[in-house]
């Protein structure tokens, strides 16, 4: 498929996007009558949606202004690239070592395939695709140095941590939890938030599929951190629960993290 078939936003219109087919005026008139009945929208829930938009904007603005304790405003930082690569290298080494331990007798080409997790987001460069035939003996070293692979590994690590955190948050009852546990959750949340923001600020943040997930994760993490050190507030809890539910956050994270890698990534 050539780029000519794509819109400037990447939508695919096929090979003959500009070819006009013969019309049938009778059918066109008929279908134009029917079309408004397709997915006919109900009344716009203006007030509800505005309340939710305002809450999200306030949270984002407060986080950007540094008004939430422990949340550093997100800004472009020159050290982000080396920091993400360094973190990803550590994770990559951990995942590789885990894979080597779990498949001790596998030939080197299979190990190269096994050590490359396959998150469902983002395009994977051909050289990173695990095929036993094509993987040369030097593949592991080459893959560790491949920046796109490093970002994917860093993303897997962060999303694995986020999954654990959100699961812990969901299992806990904020209304009854003790202050020490709440504080611990906040500290953990800040760590995951930092990693999330590093990713957002890195080329991984340009991934069209990963970006919305990281954006949503950032929002929920900021909300969790905000309530973790504050007086207990049921409405805040409800806001977070709603954000997690409406955005399918946990299922999306789980589907983005390849099975079996979460444990390795967190080691």
């Amino acid at each position: 498929m050539s780029d000519d078939n794509l819109s400037k936003y990447g939508y695919d219109f096929g090979n003959d996007a500009d070819v006009v087919l013969p019309d049938d005026p009778n059918f066109d008139a008929w279908i134009a009558q029917q079309a408004p009945s397709l997915n006919d929208p109900p009344a716009t829930p203006r007030v509800d949606m505005w309340d939710a938009i305002q809450a999200r904007l306030e949270t984002t603005q407060a986080a950007q202004a540094g008004a939430i304790a422990g949340v550093t405003p997100l800004r472009r930082r020159r050290w982000v690239l080396p920091a993400v690569i360094a973190a990803a290298l550590l994770v990559g080494i951990g995942v590789d070592r885990y894979s080597l331990r779990s498949v001790p007798s596998a030939p080197s080409s299979q190990v190269a395939a096994a050590d490359a997790p396959a998150p469902v987001f983002g395009p994977r460069p051909p050289e990173a695709r695990p095929t036993a035939k094509s993987a040369p003996a030097t593949a592991p070293a080459a893959q560790v140095n491949d920046p796109s692979r490093l970002y994917r590994l860093a993303a897997v690590q962060t999303l694995s941590q986020a999954e654990a955190l959100l699961t812990a948050y969901r299992a806990s009852n904020i209304a009854e939890r003790n202050p020490a546990a709440a504080k611990q959750l906040g500290v953990w949340g800040r760590d995951v938030l930092s990693s999330t923001r590093l990713l957002l600020d890195s080329p991984a943040g340009d991934d069209a599929e990963l970006r919305p997930l990281l954006d949503d994760l950032e929002l929920v993490l900021v909300q969790i951190i905000r309530v973790s050190g504050a007086p207990l507030d049921e409405s805040e809890r409800a806001l977070i629960d709603r954000a997690m539910r409406e955005r399918d956050l946990l299922p999306r994270i789980r589907s983005a993290v390849p099975a079996g890698v979460a444990g390795a990534a967190s080691e």
């Binding site: 936003y9 408004p36 829930p45 949606m49 599929e209 589907s255």
Partner: protein
């Protein structure tokens, strides 16, 4: 595309008002944000609903559209109407969500199944209604988006082109292709439009 339309005095006034509102929203004025929201929310909600067919998704995607617009309003250059910019964001978030849901069909029903026809349609035959909804759902993404925006929601080809990042010619061609595919899919009911 509003910038290509004739500039009447009323329209010039509206555009000036809009520029002022956008400038105020850029400075974080909540009243300006609310005014822009009230002015555009209906069309954005209707568009996201047309494309996804699910109320909770349309609500979520409409919220996403406005949050992204207000958070990124610094990036709005003002060379198109604010509404056009919102449509671009709304189409983008909707199509991304549709793609994501399709990938998760094992977990959730595909969105095509959510395409429904209301009973207000002039078509009385329930089988035809069902087949029409299925035929529209089966259209390729580009065709379906253009068809829904043009025929269901009344967008012009210029507005569609701007929102999708294509030329108006491509929008027209996609509409004609979409209609041709529907005509073929519904051939057995040709008596409906050829009485």
């Amino acid at each position: 595309m509003e910038t290509e339309q004739a500039v009447t005095p009323e329209r010039a006034l509206r555009l000036a008002d809009q520029r002022t509102l956008v400038e105020r929203a850029r400075r974080g004025d909540p009243i300006a944000q609310r005014t822009l929201y009230e002015e555009h929310v209906d069309r954005i909600y209707r568009l996201t609903f047309r494309l996804t067919g699910r109320e909770h998704l349309a609500r979520e995607l409409t919220q996403d559209t406005f949050v992204r617009a207000f958070a990124g309003i610094e990036g709005f250059r003002g060379d198109a109407a604010f509404g056009t910019w919102l449509h671009t964001i709304a189409v983008s978030v909707s199509l991304n969500e549709i793609k994501r849901r399709k990938r998760e069909e094992a977990r959730a029903a595909p969105l095509e199944e959510a395409l429904t026809m209301s009973h207000s349609t002039p078509v009385s035959d329930p089988i035809l209604r069902e087949k029409l909804a299925a035929a529209v759902a089966a259209l390729p993404e580009g065709c379906r988006t253009v068809f829904m925006m043009h025929d269901a929601e009344g967008f012009t080809h210029e507005e569609i082109a701007e929102a999708l990042g294509v030329t108006p010619g491509t929008s027209k061609a996609q509409l004609s292709r979409g209609r041709a595919k529907l005509r073929l899919a519904l051939a057995e009911f040709a008596g409906e439009w050829n009485p």
